[in-house]
């Protein structure tokens, strides 16, 4: 068994197929301490940002989450809101802290979020070690520690941090199930753990809903010495573990709304915003959007030019779920009626998904950060760092995926997770929808940086995939370049 030294000097020379499946047991104690130190550094950085951000004003959904939590804390049940059916875990999380700490509950919840980021950091480090090398794990940890778009969610009241705390350990544990030598008992325990974690992820953000089924299919289709029957039973174990976690919430929805809803019900509202004649993007500020529209060029006009009189109104059905379903029907009808407009706007939505903006700089653009964080030098540096690091990580993730990561089940797994969170582009997009895969981008980018040009000899199609990916990425950045500059310019 190879032991990796913390100086990372010895890149593993084994063939990639053999390298996959490394465990932390292979790292010597000093190496483990160093990786732990990197994760602790990331948590410390987030604590400093929490302290510097002070008592941030609640913004948009943050206020709605707090309201839901306050009502839950008061009455002991989830009252819901008239506009959305959001999954319950994040309001429950906030509600706990409001119950325990009253008006200081929000600060306490944020401190807890920062500490939970340790799980996110540890998962990133472990995943990078498993997929690549010790050096990649170190680089991934350092990238994560200073990655501002993710740091922001540790002191904002959006469920992203909690969601990643469930999603990333599930993805990491699932990689250990693919091709490693675990005992049958260990496999069963990990299958149940992955299923349960995915269930909790669904109860935090319903975007994770397809993952248990996709993971199950991947288990069935994976290369393994086990029989097809056994692989199918194991896939069923994973999916059923998710079902056990999610089912009580589904029954609650049947009780409260008289309708069957598995995760949440936000699709209809998103359809109204994203598959409609008017362009809406929550990454932009109101004043920024006005400036963007005032200086609109012919390309943007062509991209977003709506068919005349085509705005469709929201349903006014009394029941929230019926309203959402009706909105989905209207959105689909709209896409069918104007397919050319729909496809044009999907290019824009894809550009919005890969935009270098994030909620970190949006908070600056909305002038919500005060005090030391708003000193002009600090602001310029941090916004610049946030934008550049986002672009760098996205660009480096591509060769990490195709040139460094060996082909096979792990690559398929990552591709599945990426696709699952890219699919919402068919409806709506903004930087926040990219957050679930940004940690994976960090891992892949770290794999690329740590390999230092020692790639495993990519095949021609893998070269082509990366080059065309870069061309597409640059093209999509150019689509939004003017808008991004209009948004950011006043803050430099």
């Amino acid at each position: 068994m190879r032991v990796h030294s913390p100086n990372g000097a010895e890149l593993d020379s084994r063939p990639p197929q053999e390298r996959q499946g490394q465990d932390t047991a292979e790292i010597d104690p000093r190496g483990r301490r160093l990786l732990g130190g990197v994760v602790a550094l990331g948590v410390l950085v987030r604590l400093i940002f929490l302290a510097l951000s002070g008592e941030l004003e609640l913004w948009a959904d943050e206020a709605h989450y707090v309201q839901l939590a306050a009502m839950w804390s008061r009455f002991g049940f989830y009252m819901g809101s008239p506009g959305h059916l959001w999954p319950p875990i994040y309001p429950a999380f906030l509600s706990l802290f409001l119950s325990w700490f009253g008006e200081h509950g929000i600060t306490a919840a944020k401190v807890c979020q920062v500490l939970l980021c340790g799980i996110v950091g540890a998962s990133i480090v472990l995943l990078a070690h498993r997929l690549f090398s010790y050096r990649a794990a170190l680089v991934a940890g350092l990238l994560w520690a200073g990655y501002l778009p993710l740091i922001a969610y540790s002191h904002l009241l959006w469920p992203e941090t909690l969601f990643l705390c469930f999603l990333l350990p599930a993805v990491y544990l699932f990689t250990t199930l693919l091709g490693s030598e675990l005992s049958p008992r260990q496999i069963r325990v990990r299958l149940v753990a992955v299923g349960a974690l995915l269930g909790l992820a669904i109860l935090t953000k319903e975007a994770a809903l397809p993952l248990p089924v996709l993971f199950g299919l991947l288990l069935i289709g994976s290369r393994s010495r086990d029989s097809l029957g056994l692989r199918t039973i194991r896939a069923a174990l994973l999916v059923l573990s998710t079902v056990v976690v999610v089912l009580p919430w589904t029954f609650r929805n049947a009780e409260v709304y008289g309708r069957w809803v598995v995760g949440g019900s936000t699709l209809g509202k998103n359809m109204h915003w994203g598959v409609n004649a008017k362009y809406i993007n929550f990454d932009y500020t109101g004043s920024g959007m006005e400036r963007i529209e005032a200086s609109e060029g012919p390309f943007r006009r062509w991209l977003l030019e709506p068919p005349p009189d085509s705005v469709w109104p929201q349903s006014r059905a009394a029941n929230l779920i019926d309203r959402s379903n009706e909105n989905v029907h209207r959105g689909l009808g709209f896409a069918r009626a104007y397919p050319e407009f729909y496809l044009r706007t999907r290019v824009k939505r894809l550009a919005d998904w890969v935009t270098p903006l994030s909620f970190f700089d949006r908070h600056y653009r909305r002038r919500l950060y005060q005090g030391r964080l708003d000193l002009i030098g600090v602001r310029r540096t941090l916004i610049g760092l946030s934008v550049l690091s986002t672009m760098l990580v996205m660009a480096a993730a591509l060769p990490g995926l195709f040139w460094v990561l060996p082909g096979g089940t792990h690559r398929i797994l990552l591709a599945i997770v990426f696709l699952a969170f890219l699919v919402p582009v068919a409806i709506i997009a903004m930087s926040r929808y990219r957050v679930p895969v940004e940690p994976l981008m960090l891992v892949l980018a770290a794999g690329f940086f740590a390999s230092a040009g020692k790639w495993r000899g990519p095949r021609r199609w893998e070269w082509a995939a990366v080059i065309s990916g870069w061309v597409a990425l640059v093209g999509l950045w150019l689509v939004n370049a003017k808008e991004v500059w209009i948004e950011l310019a006043p803050f430099f």
């Binding site: 609640l58 309201q67 008061r74 809101s81 008239p82 194991r234 069923a236 174990l237 009580p248 029941n319």
Partner: protein, 144 residues
């Protein structure tokens, strides 16, 4: 046949699968036991304790039940809604933070069960997202 015999025959994976299926079955059973039908909800909304009224009202509002019930039921709902507003200690806070016009609108909606049952009053009542200062006042009002 002992549990160990069953485990050996089925194999540990299949055994675990059966256990999970049983757990799902238990959840279905628990839901059926906890399920409240319309008449129970009506009863709770009209004559239950303050908590029961709030709970029943919340379900009826979310279901979007049409107002086809008798007068006593409607009065019960209105009372429950008033209790809800009082319980949330928001009446005075709403006035301070959202303004009197919205407050009057809320009062009007409380007396109009049709609007009430559409469940859209929450948004109108708050008018805009709550602020940190709102939350501070809310918790202090609970302490009072």
């Amino acid at each position: 046949m002992s549990l160990e015999d069953i485990r050996r025959r089925l194999g540990a994976d299949l055994m675990l699968l059966v256990c999970l299926c049983a757990l799902v079955g238990l959840e279905v059973f628990a839901w059926r036991v906890a399920h409240r039908d319309e008449s129970e909800l009506d009863r709770a909304a009209v004559s239950g304790s303050a908590e029961e009224r709030v709970w029943a009202l919340h379900i009826l509002l979310n279901r979007g039940e049409p107002p086809q019930r008798d007068q006593s039921f409607v009065e019960g709902l209105v009372a429950a809604e008033e209790a809800l507003v009082r319980e949330l200690a928001m009446t005075s806070i709403v006035r301070r933070h959202v303004g009197r016009s919205v407050q009057r609108q809320v009062q009007a909606e409380i007396s109009g069960p049709g609007e009430l049952l559409r469940g859209r009053y929450y948004m109108k009542r708050h008018g805009r997202p709550i602020k940190r200062s709102f939350l501070r006042d809310y918790f202090r009002s609970l302490e009072d």
